[in-house]
């Protein structure tokens, strides 16, 4: 097991390195730079600024300097746009907000998704199957910006139940967490239903029924573990997605999170800041995938840690 984990971590490090390298060069290939603006800098000024950020050096040297800085100093550098701020600080602050929204969304997604998925599976082809499944179809099809705006319109403009935007209070988290959560809940519900239906039709379940075991014992003891496997493998990327995927929601709900920073840094060609966001996202996805792999082994005895 420890060997497996070490091997996976090593693999993750290599993947991360590839991601950093590719993003670094792709970012530089994009036309325009951090200092091309609608008002041009005088040439002498531009030279000075470039010097400050090492942008006057050859690209490979810049790459070397960047790698050295992140590996040796754990320093993501100064932001090229927010000149008085370091990327470490910007990303750190933004991540705390995204984390809170992501956690809330995860709870919403799991509660709603699992409950409606189980209900549907246990009431196969009945109303309690059709109803949540049609709802989940709607949830999958509605884009987040539509859902967020709808919730804002109804809950904050028609009825003054919640703040229209901002996360000064806990109430401010309701709309962003629900918007993000509902979208993932829909997928979780469908996966739960599918997984459970498959398990419930297996021979060992029929045997258990024949033995006269109660419905709840069959569900909790014998079926749930296996039935939830598809959900677990989905949860890896989904959790990473919830922690990082609030781009639109963060804009609409005015949350100073990482998603907004990421989009804006890419548009502004803020090289250091967008690289910082890429690294955080990549690390998150790698970590969650690793966790999923480990949990998978716990749930499914057929999977061995090799």
């Amino acid at each position: 097991m420890i060997g497996f984990v070490l091997k996976r971590i090593l693999g993750a490090v290599v993947t991360l390195f590839v991601i950093i390298t590719l993003s670094f060069f792709m970012m530089r290939l994009a036309p325009g730079g951090p200092f091309s603006k609608d008002r041009n800098f005088p040439p002498e000024v531009l030279e000075n600024i470039k010097k400050k950020y090492d942008l006057d050096k050859p690209l490979l040297v810049q790459y070397g300097l960047y790698i050295k800085r992140i590996v040796v100093d754990f320093d993501l550098g100064p932001s090229t746009r927010y000149s008085d701020r370091s990327v470490n600080e910007l990303v750190g602050d933004g991540f705390m907000y995204s984390l809170k929204v992501g956690l809330g969304a995860l709870i919403v997604a799991l509660m709603l998704g699992l409950i409606s998925g189980l209900l549907a599976a246990l009431n196969h082809n009945k109303f309690l199957d059709y109803f949540p499944m049609s709802l989940s179809m709607v949830g999958i099809s509605i884009p987040d910006f539509v859902l967020a705006n709808l919730l804002v319109l109804i809950l904050t403009q028609m009825f003054f139940l919640l703040p229209a935007a901002g996360v000064d209070s806990l109430a401010g988290y309701v709309i962003p967490c629900f918007t993000l959560g509902l979208i993932y809940a829909s997928s979780i519900a469908r996966l739960t239903r599918g997984g459970m239906l498959e398990i419930l039709s297996q021979d060992f379940v029929r045997t258990a029924k024949a033995k006269g075991l109660s419905g709840s014992t069959i569900l909790w003891k014998h079926s749930l573990k296996g039935g939830l496997l598809p959900v677990v493998s989905y949860l890896g990327p989904a959790t990473a997605g919830m922690f990082t995927g609030g781009l639109v929601v963060e804009k609409i709900c005015f949350i100073p999170g990482l998603g907004k920073l990421f989009i804006e840094s890419a548009i502004n060609r803020d090289y250091t800041l967008s690289m910082g966001c890429v690294i955080v996202y990549a690390v998150l996805i790698l970590i969650f995938n690793l966790i999923v792999d480990l949990v998978y082994g716990l749930l499914d005895p057929r999977v061995a840690y090799e």
Binding site: V45, Y82, D84, F160
Partner: protein, 511 residues
């Protein structure tokens, strides 16, 4: 959830890049910096007028080259330490020092004696030769190499704001953070959380602190316009910000008494690349200019109360001049003239007109305008144009490299004078981006800037602009508007051309 009567909460539309007066460039930055710093001269609530700021009085020498500013007695920084003419001397030199890398340093390096040499080569000797001198604690003298008729306007803007040497040198780039900053304006920076909020508090050391009515102001960087409107509707914002509503809804909001629309100091125009045939032919450029029905454009397409224009420089407060333009009042006549010009250029009814692209940065309004103009050119001239949109930075680069035929553009004035618009079409301007060069235009502009007589100067500026319009390297379309929701209990927030809130003049009923 409404803010207390001594607090003003507003949307600043975006996160400032920096609040350093010498490094900033955007209006999001200067809208904050203007509250926490003040220059020798300052602004009236209408923005266009210059009023005494940290300087009590000033005098100008007969040749218009030497300005002597007399500071108010006992000026203080926000930490209570004395602010003297030495601080201003240091600040002007910091601005002009190429190491500071200021976008706006050229305002002063171009005109202050010794400025250019220092900007090119910042040696100790060149530094000592820059003619900005603190004569005593309360007297600052600035000597220019040529008269600048709008010099006081420049002195009232952010690049001329003072910064405290000890703080800047001690904290380097981080000096502007709330825990380090020392400033001299009516407010001081209390809190700055990126993408979240900027909180300002009244500065008790400001010389006119007793006249400042607000005790606190909060600026929120809300980029989503609808979100700003939603927050305003909930009473959480006192002002929904500059351009504080979705552009497409302005027409619908106009009847709301809390919504205001007023002229902006921004021109919307198209650039023509005069290095590319057939746009190298002035007749083609004129034909394209004449064939556009601007009134229809603002009434049917943009619908935000914009002012249709065939001239380039927006009208300012107290400004009167006559600029010749090709475009007459009667659209039918304009079109007939356009057809004739196009035929003379060898493209009767658009026959044989080469394929051309219209470049714009991806945006719904720009797209609608481009579509309308594409149709107008097709219908009136038989000219076919392909629309081509690009993401912001790509668009900027294409424009800079003259890699376009027609390109959408906008220009916002930095100070209330025609020069801020006309200077970008000088032959050597980096913002020209049309390939158009005209010696007579350059000459007139330079001559106007030597002219201290306001009327004669305006006349020359108008002549220069007439050349620009006749030569038509650009097609002016309309002047933008400023718009946003403002709570009725807010007093003293005069609509101004750049929609900058001047917190020192603002108060709230009951406050």
């Amino acid at each position: 959830m409404q803010s207390p009567p001594d607090e003003f909460v507003f949307n600043n539309s975006a996160e400032p890049e920096t609040l350093d007066p010498h490094r900033l460039s955007g209006s999001y930055d200067s809208n904050i910096t203007n509250q926490i710093f003040e220059g020798l001269m300052s602004r009236g609530a209408d923005w266009a007028t210059v009023v005494p700021g940290q300087a009590e009085t000033y005098s100008v020498s007969a040749d218009g080259k030497t300005y002597t500013f007399r500071l108010r007695p006992q000026l203080k920084w926000s930490d209570g330490s004395p602010l003297t003419a030495k601080d201003f001397e240091y600040s002007f030199l910091r601005l002009m020092d190429p190491a500071t890398a200021s976008t706006y340093a050229y305002w002063f390096t171009d005109s202050v004696e010794g400025g250019q040499a220092f900007a090119k080569n910042p040696t100790t000797e060149n530094r000592a030769n820059v003619k900005v001198r603190a004569i005593d604690d309360r007297t600052l003298s600035i000597t220019l190499s040529k008269p600048v008729p709008y010099f006081l306007q420049l002195v009232a803007e952010t690049p001329a704001f003072p910064v405290k040497r000890e703080v800047v040198e001690k904290f380097k780039d981080a000096w502007i953070r709330p825990e380090n900053i020392v400033s001299n304006g009516p407010f001081r920076l209390a809190e700055w959380k990126v993408n979240d909020r900027i909180v300002m508090e009244k500065n008790p050391h400001y010389f006119a602190a007793q006249k400042v009515k607000l005790n606190r102001a909060v600026a929120l960087p809300i980029s989503d316009k609808q979100t700003a409107v939603n927050l305003f509707r909930q009473g959480r914002l006192d002002w929904s910000g500059p351009q504080g509503a979705p552009g497409s809804l302005v027409a619908a909001y106009r009847s709301d008494p809390q919504f205001r629309v007023h002229p902006a100091f921004i021109t919307y125009f198209y650039r023509l690349n005069v290095t590319r045939p057939p746009l190298n032919d002035v007749r083609v450029r004129q034909a394209l200019t004449l064939a556009i029905n601007r009134q229809e454009l603002v009434e049917r397409v943009t619908r935000g109360g914009e002012l249709a224009t065939s001239v380039y420089v927006p009208p300012k407060v107290g400004d009167s001049k006559s600029v010749e333009t090709l475009v007459g009042i009667d659209h039918k006549q304009n079109v007939a003239r356009a057809k004739q010009l196009l035929a003379e250029a060898g493209f009767p009814n658009g026959k044989g007109f080469p394929a051309m692209e219209l470049l714009y940065n991806s945006d719904e309004t720009h797209k609608r305008v481009a579509l309308a103009i594409q149709q107008m050119w097709k219908k009136e001239l038989g000219v076919d144009i392909r629309l081509f949109n690009q993401e912001w930075k790509v668009y900027l680069q294409k424009q800079q490299m003259l890699d376009f035929s027609v390109s959408r553009a906008g220009w916002a004035g930095d100070y209330p004078d025609a020069a801020t618009f006309l200077e970008i079409f000088l032959s050597d301007s980096g913002n020209n981006q049309t390939g158009w060069k005209n010696a007579e235009y350059d000459r007139l502009f330079a001559a106007a800037n030597k002219q201290m007589n306001v009327k004669a100067r305006n006349e020359m500026m108008a002549q220069a602009e007439s050349i620009l319009l006749r030569e038509a390297p650009i097609i002016p379309l309309f002047f933008y508007t400023n718009f946003g929701f403002l709570r009725p209990e807010v007093l003293g927030f005069e609509p101004n051309l750049i929609d900058r809130p001047f917190l020192r003049y603002i108060s709230k009923q009951g406050g």
